[in-house]
């Protein structure tokens, strides 16, 4: 189906550890948690989870001109900065960026929830449109991140804004893989972003799926652990440059990994319940496309968010496809669930694990749950050569994505 090999040549990140890849890698490798207590949320009636892993505040004025910032909410600022770092790591020059041969697929759950709150406060409580500035719509529209990435980089290729909550950036990477592999674009800047906001945590709290371990923020979420009790939402943005092998070679770019499979399946069983069958089908599809079998997978970076049902279902699906001896971990213990950014940030970390020859264990996983003992859960940093990685991303609404990264060569 695809007539070009698709490689990754650049990555960029904004996370709970601050700006840039180095902050992300240093803190994740050192096992630091980005989770903190959100004191101001305690005033919200009925909310039981006051935990989040937000991006630390920084002065965007020093990093982006007003002409760009005026249409950016927090998530779009982070998306633009992550994309800029990815472009720098890939070494894409201005002429190439502006050629029309490069596009973007950049997703998020919604537009900026903070700006939504401000806008509707003005409309509904002040009953006025007079204070509303011209840039507000561009901060809340569903494709706010992709549009602002496109403007900030001067891209003239295709623009897509996948919006599927927790799979937004995994879909963006998959879409980039299809567009680049199919020859429609020579390169795509792919990723996603989301913001910490009480309305986002509320979604999980209403469903009884948000962690309530408010007294020990650094010990939660606890993916695959016996004492896991739900999601902690995080903020951030992740970006990857996907490129045809020909383009990367012509430019002499360093190739970080190759994408060889993209499984993407629906689950019509229940809009909120995770389904091991659907998760397994996503992994099977990706492996089939890659021409690989489950026993050839060296590492699975799980979606595992720390919910009772989700982690259990994923462990079952992984055990079914990969068996019980493939190392598995989740990055959610470190950064919380970064929702629309999760697929991209965790892909970036997975590729770095391949590059460094070290697999990072799940933070806060002390005692595996009985329902998660059927897989090889990493207990500590494991030095190993990794050639094939499966990255899972799942979303409520029945979206199940698996992407396969392979060592290039």
């Amino acid at each position: 189906m695809l007539n070009h090999r698709v490689v990754i040549t650049g990555r960029g990140a904004v996370s709970c550890y601050g700006l840039g890849l180095n902050n992300l890698f240093d803190n994740v490798w050192q096992g630091h948690s980005g989770v903190k207590v959100m004191e101001q949320w305690q005033a919200i009636s009925g909310l039981t989870s006051f935990l989040a892993a937000p991006v630390p505040s920084f002065d965007a004025k020093k990093l982006l001109p007003r002409s760009l910032r005026r249409t950016m909410g927090g998530m779009a600022v982070n998306a633009a900065l992550a994309a800029r770092e990815a472009v720098a790591e890939a070494g894409l020059d201005e002429d190439y960026l502006h050629s029309g041969d490069i596009g973007t697929a950049f997703g998020s759950t919604t537009g900026s929830p903070e700006i939504y709150e401000q806008l509707y406060r003005t409309l509904l409580f002040d009953k006025s449109i007079e204070p509303i500035k011209s840039g507000e719509f561009f901060k809340i529209m569903g494709h706010s991140c992709s549009a602002n990435v496109m403007y900030s980089l001067g891209l003239k290729g295709e623009q897509w804004g996948p919006s599927s909550a927790c799979t937004s950036s995994a879909q963006a990477i998959g879409l980039g893989y299809l567009l680049v592999g199919g020859g429609r674009q020579e390169a795509m800047i792919c990723g996603g972003a989301d913001e910490v906001h009480h309305s986002v945590t509320t979604v999980f709290d209403v469903l009884q799926a948000a962690s309530k371990q408010n007294d020990s923020p650094q010990s939660t979420p606890r993916p695959f652990d016996r004492d896991r009790d739900g999601v902690v939402c995080g903020g951030g943005a992740g970006a990857l440059v996907l490129e045809t092998l020909e383009s990367a070679r012509n430019r002499g770019a360093a190739i970080l990994a190759e994408i060889v499979g993209f499984g993407h399946v629906g689950d019509p069983g229940h809009i909120a319940h995770p389904d091991p069958d659907a998760m397994a089908r996503a992994m099977e599809k990706a492996l089939s496309e890659a021409g690989l079998t489950g026993d050839e997978v060296d590492y699975v970076n799980g979606h595992a968010t720390g919910t009772l049902q989700g982690d259990s279902a994923e462990a079952e699906a992984i055990a079914r496809i990969m068996g019980s001896s493939t190392p598995v971990s989740s990055c959610k213990g470190h950064m919380g669930h970064t929702l629309g950014a999760a697929g991209a940030l965790e892909s970036i970390l997975s590729i770095e694990m391949m590059q460094r020859g070290e697999l990072v264990p799940t933070l806060n996983l002390d005692q595996p749950g009985d329902d998660c003992k059927n897989i090889d859960l990493l207990g500590e940093l494991r030095p190993t050569t990794t050639n094939v990685i499966v990255k899972n991303s799942f979303a409520m609404g029945g979206v199940n994505v698996s992407i396969i990264f392979k060592r290039f060569g």
């Binding site: 007003r66 005026r70 007079e130 500035k133 011209s134």
Partner: protein
């Protein structure tokens, strides 16, 4: 309000809202060419004028004729005097 006071407040708006430098904001500076404002900025200018000076310019035809800072200051003074 005296013209000099209006000019000062307009300059403050341009510095705060559009992040321009004070020395760019001469009375003769043209908004859309020299100061590089665009259609979105024009909307935000009206919002800021109402908030900071209390003058309502939304939808006013006369705003379309404004070319320079001085034009803007004169128009604001006219609207304020109209009450």
């Amino acid at each position: 309000m005296e013209k000099e006071e209006i000019y000062k407040r307009v300059k403050d708006i341009f510095i705060e809202e559009f992040e321009l430098e004070e020395d760019e904001l001469t009375p003769a500076a043209t908004l859309y060419d020299e100061l590089e404002l665009d259609s979105l900025d024009a909307v935000d200018l009206v919002v800021a004028l109402e908030k900071e000076i209390g003058v309502k310019m939304r939808g006013e035809e006369a705003m379309r004729e404004v070319r320079t800072i001085d034009d803007l200051v004169n128009l604001i003074q006219l609207f304020l005097n109209k009450g």
